[in-house]
C-alpha cells in the first residue's frame, strides 16, 4: 500500500515514519511539511521525498496518509485528503475545537473516506490484556480508575506544543485524550462529568498549562482521574508513563504500559529502554488492514471526538470552577 505523511510537526510522525518503512507491503511515498528546516531534516534522516504541498503528495494516488500537523491544523489536511479520496489516520487530539472536529467528519463522510483516530495505546499488548481482564469480569464491576499519563515537556522537541493557538492548550490538551479514550474503551461508556485543576508550575516561559489533574465521573458512576502533567524532568529515564489502576469490586488491576524496560546506563546516562513491541506498529497494521478490506477502522472519528471533548471540558471546568459535562460542548 502507498502511504504518505502530512507534516512532521507532531513528534509522533517520526515514529510513524520508522514504522512505515519497516512494514512489509507498504511504500512510504513521501511527506509534505511547510517548515523548510524541519522538512530538510526529516528528508535527510529518513531519505524521504518532500512534496511542496499536501495536494501534490495526495495527487500521487495514495491509499492512506497520516495527518500529523499541529493539533489546530488537522482540518485542512483532512479535508484535502478527503477530496483526494485518501484514508486518514489523524493524530490525537483530532482537533482543538468541536467545530473543526465536526467539519472533518463532514468531509470524510461526504467523500466516503475512512477516518481513524491515532490512539496507539489501544494496540499495546499490556493495555489489551488489562481490558480483557476487565471484560472477563476478573476484578468485578469497576468503581474507580486512576490514571497517569505524565511526561516531560514536549516543547523541548517542538515549540508549538506550548503554543495555545497551534496546540489548543498545553499538557491537558496533549495527554488527556489517551486515558479518556482508554477509560471509554475499558468501560464501554462515556465520560459524564469533568472537574479539572489546571496550572503552570513547570515552565514559566510558556503561556499554556504544564500541569492538569482531572476528576471524572463515568456515565455508570465510576470515579476516574487523569494526571496529564508535563511533570517529568528532562533528565528522567524516559519520556514519562502511561499507568491505569482499575479498582473493582473483587480486586484491583494495576497497568503500567511501559513497565517492560531494561535499566540502561548508556552514553546518555541512566535510561529505561523498552523492549516490548511498538504499539504504533500494530496501530498502523490495523489501520491499513481496515482500509484494504474496506472495513470501519478500529478507532473511529467518534472515539477521537469524545476524548477531545473531555479535554475541552477540562479547560472549561478550570475556567468556570465547576464540573462540566463533555456533552455541553
Amino acid at each position: 500500500m502507498r502511504v504518505g505523511i502530512l507534516s512532521f510537526a507532531h513528534v509522533h510522525a517520526e515514529g510513524y515514519a520508522e514504522v512505515l518503512r519497516g512494514l512489509p507491503g507498504v511504500e512510504l511515498v513521501g511527506f509534505c511539511d511547510p517548515d523548510d528546516a524541519r522538512a530538510g531534516r526529516f528528508a535527510r534522516v529518513y531519505g524521504l521525498r518532500r512534496y511542496g504541498s499536501a495536494e501534490a503528495l495526495l495527487a500521487e494516488g495514495l491509499d492512506a496518509v497520516a495527518v500529523t500537523s499541529e493539533n489546530a491544523l488537522h482540518r485542512p489536511l483532512v479535508e484535502a485528503a478527503a477530496r483526494a479520496g485518501t484514508a486518514v489516520l489523524v493524530e490525537k487530539p483530532i482537533a482543538t475545537t468541536v467545530e473543526d472536529a465536526l467539519a472533518m467528519r463532514r468531509a470524510v463522510e461526504a467523500a466516503g473516506v475512512p477516518f481513524m483516530t491515532a490512539f496507539p495505546m489501544r494496540f499495546s499488548p499490556a493495555v489489551r490484556a488489562a481490558r480483557a481482564m476487565i471484560l472477563e469480569d476478573r476484578i468485578g464491576p469497576v468503581r474507580a480508575l486512576v490514571g497517569v499519563n505524565h511526561s516531560e515537556n514536549p516543547r523541548r522537541h517542538r515549540a508549538w506544543f506550548a503554543d495555545p493557538e497551534l496546540a489548543g492548550g498545553g499538557a491537558v490538551m496533549d495527554h488527556t485524550v489517551h486515558l479518556a479514550d482508554l477509560y471509554r474503551w475499558f468501560l464501554g461508556e462515556e465520560v459524564a462529568e469533568v472537574y479539572a485543576e489546571i496550572s503552570n508550575p513547570f515552565d514559566p516561559e510558556v503561556e499554556v498549562d504544564t500541569a492538569g489533574l482531572l476528576s471524572l465521573r463515568m456515565a455508570g458512576g465510576a470515579s476516574a482521574s487523569i494526571d496529564a502533567s508535563w511533570s517529568r524532568p528532562a533528565h528522567y529515564p524516559r519520556w514519562g508513563h502511561l499507568q491505569i489502576e482499575a479498582v473493582g469490586e473483587r480486586g484491583t488491576l494495576v497497568l503500567d504500559a511501559f513497565a517492560g524496560h531494561l535499566h540502561g546506563w548508556t552514553a546518555g546516562g541512566y535510561r529505561w529502554l523498552g523492549y516490548h513491541p511498538d504499539p504504533a506498529r500494530a496501530m498502523w497494521q490495523a489501520f491499513l488492514t481496515s482500509v484494504r478490506e474496506e472495513r470501519e477502522p478500529p478507532v473511529t472519528w467518534r472515539d477521537g471526538f469524545e476524548a477531545m471533548r473531555v479535554a475541552l471540558a477540562a479547560y472549561r471546568s478550570a475556567r468556570e470552577g465547576r464540573p462540566v459535562a463533555p456533552a455541553e460542548l
Binding site: V148, E197, P201, S215
Partner: protein, 315 residues
C-alpha cells in the same frame, strides 16, 4: 515517667510493643471492661484498669489509643487530671471536638502530642527533607496514594465512630500535603463505594498553582495495602511506592493471614511508631516543641472534613 494506654486494640498493641523496645515505663492499660484488656495486659505485663479515674492515678502520661469516637472524653479527662497526653490520629471526629481537646491542653498546661505517624516514616521524612532542601525545585504536582482493605473491626467501618476512610486514613496524606505545600485554596473530591469499603480521589490546589492528587480508601481485597508518592518539582521528581521491593523479602509457600486493620510498616529497625513515640517522650521530658504540633493535627482534620464534604457534594 509512668505511661498508661487508654485503649486495648490494634494501635494499643503497636504502641505497647514500641514502648517495650525503647525501654519506656509502660505500666497500665485502661479499657471499659476487663475482657478487652486482658490479653494486652498479660502480653505486656500491665496493670489493667476498668475505672478511668483510678487508671489516671496510676500513670503520669496517657497514650489515648482508643477508638476515635471516645478520644475527646478520654483526652480531656486526662489533661484535666494533670496528665500529658499522646493522642492517636485522627485527633477527633469533628473540628469543634478537636479544638476542645487543644483548649483543654492549653488551660491545664499539659503537653498534647497527636500521633501523626506518617511524618515519622523514613521515606516520607527523607522526601520532605529533600523537597525543603530544593532537590526537585518548586513543587508542581504531588501524587499521594494510600489504599487498604476495609477494616474488620466494626467501629472503623462506621463513619459516625471513625470518620470513615477520609478522616481515618487519607488524613495521613492530607497532613503530608500540608507539610509540603501548606494549606490548599481549593479541594474537590469524588468518593465511590467499593464492596463494603470506599474509594476516594481528591484534587487540591495550593497558592502559587501547585496541585495535589490524593487517593485513599478501603477498597482492596483483604490483606492488601498500597501506598506511594510522586513529588514533581520544576527541577526533578521524587518517587516511592510500597510496590517496590523492600530491603528484606522472604519467599515461602504459605501466606500469613491478614491482620484485622491494615497498617503500613517501614520495616527493619526504623519502626515509625517507635520513632514517633520516642520523639514525643523526649520532647515531653525536655520541654522541646513537637515536630508535628497539635495545631497541625487539627488543620489536617479540618482538611479531611473539607475533602469529605466535597465528596458528599456539600459545598
Amino acid at each position: 515517667m509512668r505511661i498508661g494506654l487508654a485503649g486495648a486494640g490494634t494501635m494499643a498493641r503497636v504502641h505497647a510493643a514500641a514502648y517495650r523496645r525503647m525501654g519506656a515505663e509502660l505500666v497500665a492499660v485502661y479499657a471499659p471492661n476487663r475482657a478487652a484488656s486482658a490479653s494486652l495486659a498479660e502480653a505486656f505485663d500491665l496493670e489493667p484498669f476498668e475505672d478511668y479515674r483510678r487508671f489516671l492515678d496510676a500513670v503520669d502520661l496517657v497514650d489515648v489509643v482508643a477508638p476515635t469516637y471516645v478520644h475527646e472524653p478520654l483526652a480531656r479527662e486526662a489533661l484535666q487530671a494533670g496528665k500529658d497526653v499522646i493522642l492517636e490520629k485522627p485527633m477527633a471526629l469533628d473540628a469543634a471536638s478537636g479544638r476542645r481537646i487543644l483548649e483543654a491542653a492549653r488551660s491545664h498546661r499539659r503537653r498534647l502530642f497527636v500521633a501523626m505517624v506518617l511524618r515519622f516514616f523514613p521515606q516520607y521524612r527523607r522526601a520532605a527533607e529533600l523537597v525543603r532542601a530544593g532537590a526537585v525545585g518548586r513543587l508542581g504536582v504531588v501524587r499521594l496514594k494510600r489504599v487498604s482493605f476495609p477494616p474488620r473491626i466494626d467501629w472503623y467501618r462506621d463513619p459516625r465512630r471513625s470518620g470513615g476512610a477520609i478522616v481515618d486514613l487519607m488524613i495521613h496524606d492530607l497532613d503530608y500535603a500540608r507539610w509540603l505545600l501548606g494549606d490548599p485554596v481549593r479541594v474537590f473530591a469524588r468518593r465511590v463505594a467499593v464492596g463494603e469499603g470506599e474509594h476516594v480521589q481528591a484534587l487540591l490546589r495550593f497558592p502559587g498553582g501547585a496541585l495535589a492528587w490524593i487517593e485513599g480508601g478501603w477498597a482492596y481485597p483483604e490483606g492488601h495495602f498500597r501506598t506511594g508518592f510522586d513529588l514533581a518539582g520544576d527541577a526533578g521528581v521524587l518517587e516511592w511506592r510500597s510496590d517496590d521491593p523492600p530491603p528484606v523479602r522472604t519467599v515461602f509457600s504459605d501466606r500469613a493471614p491478614p491482620p484485622e486493620v491494615g497498617l503500613p510498616m517501614a520495616g527493619l529497625e526504623e519502626d515509625p511508631y517507635e520513632l514517633e513515640l520516642r520523639h514525643a517522650l523526649s520532647a515531653i521530658a525536655t520541654g522541646a516543641p513537637f515536630e508535628v504540633a497539635p495545631e497541625d493535627a487539627l488543620a489536617a482534620l479540618e482538611l479531611a472534613l473539607a475533602v469529605r464534604a466535597s465528596a458528599e457534594g456539600v459545598a
